[in-house]
Symmetry: D2
């Protein structure tokens, strides 16, 4: 059994919830779940025990009602039992057409953290999954500065994710162990302040930014070229989508944080910094959750020949990440059981766009997968 | 030093020759050569000592003149020294607009083999590289049947590649070791008859069918999907080009042999045989050596979502293979020095579309590369 | 009111039937119907009064049951009233996994024609729409030869479409006027024998081969390039699909007839025959009715610069043609009312891949559309 | 004979100059010139008599030297005779890595205009072609305001293009007629102030923004869909390139002016404003002048089916526009000879992204071409 609390009951969390229940009900196989049912902890053992959001129209409602905003099929009745609770927002929905309310509207951040921890001690999650909308943020780097910002109630400095991660550490410390899965770009597993805090507090952090869509594919395509010593001249990559996350990325500041995440892939994999333009590009509402991606790569082959590849695709954004979460919550529980507190590169390298810790590099995902299996105690698939 | 004899002085062999000499001259880096200059045997150590063809208009001419048919740049003068000799054709140019002449027009196949062996004993190649046009063929499977066909001068049963590989074995036996690199689809490393013969004769075989273009990329993209447990519904892949190899593939029989090669990738990588249409599709003269590829893949992600990828590209066909040959001749020499006679899966798995021996499977190329490096005594790149 | 008889109750005819009824029911707008509801005859005025097929499992069933094989949504009850009757097959389903039965199994072709005419005199269609699977055929060119083949019951020479068109002419002669819409590649509007027969018999023929998918788009893209005097170097076009029509095209002979149809577009539009490879390429069952197309065009721009365009798409094959039929049956009735017997180039030039009569050329579709509107008595849209 | 003065001796103007001379020399056909040599004024009759720029490193040099920065082939010696003169910049190179100098550094705008006019009276151009880098601008709308800005030397209000167009009007007035071809996005043919001025001054204006690349193709593809009543759900279009114009577009303000130009195409052609994201997206230096474009269109077909088209391409940016200029200067002379002062929609509708006058709409280019031919006194090609 893995008990899960969700932070950010949006598209991804809703598809995660509905997909899990459909699997339990026997409607679906394990497609989109990288480790399928190979782990000792089964998919069917995952239980969502709590959910948090700051959208005024969601708080207090059962997941059963929320997920219908994102999924048009038959929703399992089991989702009647979990109700959305109020979290903290700290401007995370700024500029979006959503009315945000948060615990911090009524109390200090310290009290909000205490409130969360006390709720969690009741809900008893093994894993807290952080999937709110992309935030604008600045990493702390230094644990003392983080502690100070909390103490001083510094609402301009802290983001919601940073506060949740801090609360998760307090909770883990009190209960002897828990995991925090950070699926968004805010640096947590890449912020030495949080990794230090996690080690002190029996917290496992996985992060940052779930590796869906074009980025992990780019990593593998670039590795493919690098292994043939084809010299990449330039890479252009576009993404355009119609879900709230794309809407949020039209906000300049937020977009910048995303960009930071993705660009290191090129140098990590190729060994040199090929000129590239890799950015989430725009919001186009009718595309909905099914984003359009386009990528152009130009490279030099033997005898100076110049080749070109173009990759385009239509990819369902939220299911891609939701499928990864099904593994991550189980691996989080395994890491807690093994007491591997801090962050786990072997897991992050496969599942995350920006695998922590800070100094860690991107690997070709095909190789990262094999190493992750070995970490998880499974036989490699191809190695 | 690696002494190389080429069989089939067409587009690939000419780009190989010109690229090598340009590297020696300092005009080019090692782009397109997977192992660049990391091996103990340097790129600059490779020397082409002989060349064979059956095109009447090529025999007797220096490489210097031949390569100008394929390469419009400045041709190194060093290619003045090697002259094209007459090989065997055995209908391999049938239906192509080329007048073929061969040793077998004047003598029995046995005598032709003896003739080749005696020339090679003079030229002293370490490695014989087989890159003629794709042939229609039937594998032997049984060494006795192969021996019998040679003895009985069975010109309907044998292809040119099979005769060259047989001659290479005779040569290797006499001189104590040599390598035969089969870069075309005819099964040699996948034919147990030839692998058995090679083991008995101090021959190293690498094969079959150099892994250029869309197939190895498909392998890696499919591995990428398999590792996320995305269920592939269908794969369509087209290739169209304007060089002689594409012209040859418009011949029904030849096309069939190519098709055989490629289709196993899908099942080897995915673990199930997803419906697919993967075929060299057509000949379009103005495309020249720069083929157009298009691939469509449809797969099921989490919660039943259906995604699509489309990959298109313009790829210079001959340089892609020529760059691999720069490694293969050096690895061939290394294998001979180590007396690893028969065939070497670790090499084939990365460089070949249809890696021998017969029972061997396709691996994701990104993993095959790391294993090949380890075989070659190099540090893995990402592993 | 337009009374319609359908020949070939497959995918296209079923989508035509269900789409029409859904429009009448108010479920759908006029999307996919080029002239929407601009004609004096309204979409709601179209009535399917009869249907013919030769698939043993379809004959005798109501359309209501047949269309459920192709359309998974809610089927209008109105389709309970029309039952599929037995037609003629003449080997048209050869090599397909369908058991064919036809009138000609029990009687001579002459009698079968008489049988059809007498049924039609009862059903009173204004328009007969021919949409069976692509056939292998040879045009007649000479009316006497056609008459002779009918008289002599020459089942090897005649195809089902040719027999239906002949029967339509007999019917039109007897009732004073009717239209025959040939939506498949068999040459009817391009066969002078049939055009002559039509003129003598009060028959309007529209044909040949409904212009869906990539061909009309190619026509417009080529016109776009021609108008800028960009010199097209080569064109490659692939289609792959999973419906019965694609399965039929894997039959060599049938494929050839399709190829004939499409290739003239290039020369008609560009004014020179640019090298091209334009073929329906393959069958891939899971694609179903939603075909994948890919097109590559390379051209020379000013100062010798070389540009490239690649177009890929996922296109629902049957709805594309079904939408055109909604116009064609109404235009057929208009032509009959105007007594424009024979064939009507203005209509064919927009709606058909191979617009008859024989000597007629392809136009850019964007221009053909405007001329067709003028013929139909509508104001041009952009002209 | 057409005498031409160029404003902005960058990539486009250099390819225009070199291509023209190569045609005269017999090296090239008329590819990329829409009207080829069909006009009474021949391509060989065009003569470049003057050139202006504000890049300090260009002023005073012969075209022969400038064009070598953009064209690596053999440059015709005839370009030795024209020297680049100093123009006005008015911040047009702001934020670009170019040192700008202009007449206005030494004198008032009035005096600069007088200076230009007096030089032109000596050079005697029939046509002035404006092809500098994209500027940030605000249209005037009202001729009095324009006159006032000139009089008051309002350097913050005026752009270089506006000053050149004003000078062209003064010149035309004095010599009895001239043409001004505005190939960049600044509104001139769409600014009623300039059209009024042109009518008063014997000036012909063609503009605005030469229709190269993806926009005119989008217009024709959308017309293709509109004529089939396929309902466009969304359009995403990306452009990325490596020439100075793309670099300039990374400047926020300039980018906005480009965006304004392009977006009206969708509504003009479809008749409704389908959701779209159509923007020049980024700068990627190694792409050079050969931009990468990607476009995704999703539409509804008959019976509610949803289809998708994806168009990608590699397009040489400058030759595309340079080829249009070869026509535009000849058509400009024809319009002057006919005294059609003001602006000419028939010409603009085909050649311009934003065809003036202000209230004019975009047409499908395939139709605009035919109307333009008729205006030019040529037989339509397909109509």
């Amino acid at each position: 059994m893995v008990r899960v609390v969700i932070v950010g009951q949006g598209y991804v969390a809703s598809i995660f919830a509905v997909g899990l229940e459909r699997i339990k009900r026997g409607d679906l196989g394990y497609y989109g779940v990288p480790l399928a049912n190979e782990l000792p902890i089964k998919v069917e053992d995952i239980q969502i025990v709590g959910s948090y959001d700051v959208d005024k129209t969601k708080i207090g409602l059962p997941l059963y009602e929320i997920v219908q905003r994102y999924w048009k099929g038959d929703v399992p009745e089991t989702l009647q039992e979990v109700f959305v609770r109020k979290g903290v927002h700290l401007r995370s929905l700024r500029n979006l057409p959503i009315e945000a309310v948060g615990l911090e509207d009524e109390m200090s951040l310290r009290d909000a953290i205490e409130h969360l921890v006390s709720e969690w001690k009741e809900l008893k999650p093994d894993v807290i999954v952080n999937v709110p909308t992309t935030e604008a943020f600045v990493p702390f780097e230094d644990l003392e500065k983080l502690e100070k910002a909390i103490k001083e109630d510094d609402r301009d400095r802290l983001t919601a994710t940073q506060v949740y991660a801090y609360a998760a550490a307090q909770y883990a410390k009190e209960v002897g162990g828990a995991a925090f899965v950070n699926a968004i770009p805010t640096l947590i597993a890449n912020d030495p302040a949080f990794v230090e805090l996690a080690k002190e507090s029996n917290l496992v952090i996985f992060g940052d930014d779930g590796a869906t869509g074009a980025t992990p594919l780019t990593a593998d395509v670039l590795a493919h070229l690098a292994q043939r010593n084809r010299h990449v001249r330039d890479i252009a990559q576009f993404n355009i989508g119609g879900n709230t996350d794309f809407l949020a990325l039209t906000d300049k500041e937020r977009n910048r944080s995303k960009e930071y995440t993705k660009s290191s892939v090129v140098e990590d994999i190729l060994g040199y910094n090929a000129p590239h333009f890799i950015k989430p590009t725009g919001f186009l509402e009718p595309l909905g959750d099914k984003k359009f991606i386009a990528m152009h790569i130009e490279y030099v082959s033997f005898n100076g020949a110049i080749d070109e590849l173009v990759i385009t695709g239509r990819i369902n954004d939220s299911p891609a990440l939701a499928g990864l979460l099904v593994d991550l919550v189980r691996l989080g529980k395994i890491a807690v059981d093994r007491k591997e507190f801090g962050t786990v590169y072997e897991v992050n390298a496969f599942y995350m766009k920006n695998p922590g810790p800070k100094e860690a590099k991107n690997l070709p995902r095909i190789i990262a997968y094999e190493k992750m299996r070995q970490w998880a105690g499974l036989k490699p698939r191809y190695l």
